[in-house]
């Protein structure tokens, strides 16, 4: 975790500096005279984040040993990263279908795609589960709760 802490500390410190010197002045105008600046609290938070991130980096850098850097496993496993990428791609596909075809196809794609990503290969399950979920949601919102969600 020490290496991850050092890297995340550096990344967050850089992020904080960019926010303080570039994004916040660009995105938040000065308020009327006599009133507290609208950028005061966001800037204070970013200063705090930057300071703490530097502290996090320094503490972990000073406490590091060769073993702690080399032996500790990566906090994010390959399988988890792969799942993140796959689920991200699935949401991109579902959003595309939502925007260009219809929400129904997006919902079916989301459920069926997730089943495929997670290793489900039984055709019956791949057909029945998306259909069942769509039906259940239609029943819940349109019949039980009596409201349209789209």
């Amino acid at each position: 975790m020490r290496r991850a802490n050092i890297i995340s500390g550096i990344v967050l410190a850089c992020f904080g500096l960019v926010m303080i010197f570039a994004i916040i002045p660009w995105q938040i105008e000065a308020g009327p005279k006599g009133m507290m600046s609208p950028s005061l609290v966001p800037t204070m938070m970013m200063v705090l984040i930057t300071g703490l991130s530097v502290l996090l980096t320094v503490i972990n850098w000073r406490a590091r040993t060769k073993e702690s850097i080399e032996d500790t496993p990566n906090p994010v496993s390959r399988a988890e990263l792969a799942a993140l990428v796959k689920v991200g791609a699935l949401f991109a596909l579902a959003l595309g279908l939502y925007l260009w075809i219809s929400p129904l196809f997006a919902g079916i794609a989301l459920v069926a795609g997730a089943l495929l990503i997670l290793g489900e290969r039984r055709p019956l399950v791949l057909v029945l589960m998306p259909a069942g979920f769509m039906l259940a949601i239609w029943f819940l919102f349109y019949k039980v709760l009596g409201t349209a969600i789209l």
Partner: protein
């Protein structure tokens, strides 16, 4: 008291009871399934309550929170895989009992301890919240700002392994809360010209992304280990071992009462969470026992101690929310959004402005305790079967519900983008141990912190020395500094001390990795 009677009249009708029971059942199932928990359940269910009456909606959400706290014992006992981290001590003795063929007995004790702990803690909430709120009304902006600052520091320091990371997460939460039009000057902040951001980021899509979707992705990455655990469920229990004997009841009653007291106290303190409560209660019971060496081998007192404290935390964690408007846990932070949505603004004024709705909530909480007993008892075998369903069949449905939930908040696809953005943040926050609890609480109390900070600057005339006229605020500022010093000192001592490994039974190794970074 009169209002409480009216509250029961409002709740005791078939429609409201149906939604409370639905919430408890849903919560029980979510709690029983490893990887899903009360925070996920409440976050996903908030949009579903948009179209319910306030009483039914709040009753359902409270039912989910209560039900999942009790349901997490099922997987802890049968799978050695706590449904939530707070049930980890339940697994220490519950799983050995299940392996001895006493799963039914352990499940029953878990249920009874949960219901008793939950019910008594609800009574504590009803008894304490209103009197505390009367004192809270005497607090001005300067004092409130100091209290909020102290709470966030305390939560940031305790809810993760690193105080620095907790404070960073809390500061990020406050920062994200400032996005949108500034309330006094109406100057847009960090909106990048997007009209959707003028009202700021919405809590529901943000919380769904951070809590539910991020968790589902982590579960998807650990699917093989979880499915292997599911396949190894201990299945046998002889008839003789199904019932709890009188002598076991005699041994467990004091344990349950102690667990309830510990859980209620831990719940009142912001940021400690149910895990601390259940582990403290388990430890206290082990120390008080004449045979502490038998703990971890199947002592029914272990199950009673952990579950009573775990469930007592949920109602009592609402005390700071109701009395001061400060969420002490992630559930309380999420419930703020639901309460406001249904016309009840948590804080000291709600007892004066909405006494009937408060009484309705109390009545719904008490009813939820009894419904939990009924559903837990009658559905024990069904819940035990549900947890055998592989996660690969559950995750797709949860992802779909998350997407619909986020979409419903604004009726715009922009909410789904927000959800996905915060999924990414939540994923790395969980893996790198940045407390998302502190983040969410920072996000919820952020607007209040900014408002009271502005008012304080004006009241103090921009002079620090004027704080001397506000002794309560001064006390909380000193407490904040002391908290930072104490937590920093204790963590440096912990880092410099060689770690020892306690040879006790642990929840399954595969799930240790998944659960060790998950927080309340």
């Amino acid at each position: 008291m009169d209002y409480l009677i009216i509250g029961f009249q409002d709740v005791l009708n078939p429609v409201t009871l149906f939604w409370v029971a639905s919430g408890v059942t849903l919560g029980y199932i979510l709690g029983a399934l490893p990887g899903l928990g009360k925070a996920t359940g409440v976050a996903v269910a908030i949009p579903l309550t948009f179209y319910l009456t306030p009483v039914a909606a709040l009753g359902m959400l409270i039912g989910i929170a209560k039900g999942s706290a009790a349901g997490s014992a099922v997987s802890a006992i049968l799978l050695n895989t706590p449904g939530e981290p707070s049930s980890a001590p339940t697994a220490l003795d519950g799983y050995p009992l299940a392996r001895q063929g006493k799963a039914q007995k352990a499940l029953k004790m878990g249920l009874y301890a949960s219901v008793i702990g939950d019910f008594l803690s609800t009574i504590v909430l009803i008894g304490l919240a209103a009197p505390l709120a009367n004192y809270a009304l005497l607090i001005g902006p300067v004092e409130l700002c100091a209290i909020l600052l102290f709470s966030l520091t305390f939560i940031g320091g305790l809810s993760g392994k690193s105080m620095i990371k907790g404070l960073i997460a809390g500061a990020f939460g406050v920062f994200f809360a400032t996005i949108g039009l500034e309330t006094e000057t109406f100057v847009p902040r960090m909106t990048f010209g997007m009209l959707e951001l003028d009202d700021g980021l919405k809590l529901v899509p943000l919380a769904i992304g951070m809590l539910a979707v991020a968790e589902m992705i982590i579960q998807a990455g650990n699917l093989k280990a979880l499915d292997a655990e599911t396949a190894n469920i201990a299945d046998g229990s002889s008839k003789d071992d199904r019932e709890i004997s009188h002598s076991e009841w005699r041994r467990c009653i004091p344990v349950i009462l102690r667990g309830t007291v510990i859980g209620s106290l831990i719940g009142i303190l912001p940021g400690l969470g149910a895990s601390v409560g259940s582990f403290l209660s388990y430890g206290a019971t082990k120390r008080a026992s004449k045979t502490p060496e038998k703990f971890g081998t199947g002592m029914i007192e272990g199950v009673a101690a952990a579950e009573s404290a775990d469930n007592a935390v949920v109602p009592s964690s609402l005390i700071p929310l109701f009395a001061l408007g400060i969420p002490g846990s992630v559930i309380a932070a999420l419930l703020i959004a639901a309460f406001i949505l249904h016309g009840l603004t948590p804080g000291p004024l709600m007892f004066k402005q909405q006494p009937r709705l408060v009484a309705d909530v109390y009545a719904a909480m008490i009813c939820a305790s009894f419904i939990m007993l009924f559903i837990g008892y009658s559905g024990q075998r069904i819940f035990a079967m549900i947890i055998k369903v592989p996660l690969r069949l559950i995750i797709p449905g949860v992802l779909l519900l998350c997407t619909i939930g986020a979409y419903m908040e604004t009726g715009s696809v922009f909410s789904i983008y927000v959800m996905l953005g915060f999924t990414l943040i939540g994923f790395f926050a969980k893996k790198l141990d940045f407390s998302f609890v502190t983040f969410l609480i920072g996000f919820v109390i952020g607007p209040n912190i900014e408002l009271t900070f502005r008012q304080s600057l004006q009241l103090l005339d921009h002079r620090f020395s004027n704080l001397l006229h506000h002794p309560i605020a001064l006390v909380f500022i000193i407490l904040t500094v002391l908290t930072i010093w104490w937590l920093g000192w204790s963590s440096s001592v912990a880092n410099s001390t060689p770690k020892s490994v306690e040879p006790v039974a642990q929840p399954s190794a595969a799930n240790q990795d998944i659960h060790k970074k998950r927080e309340e």
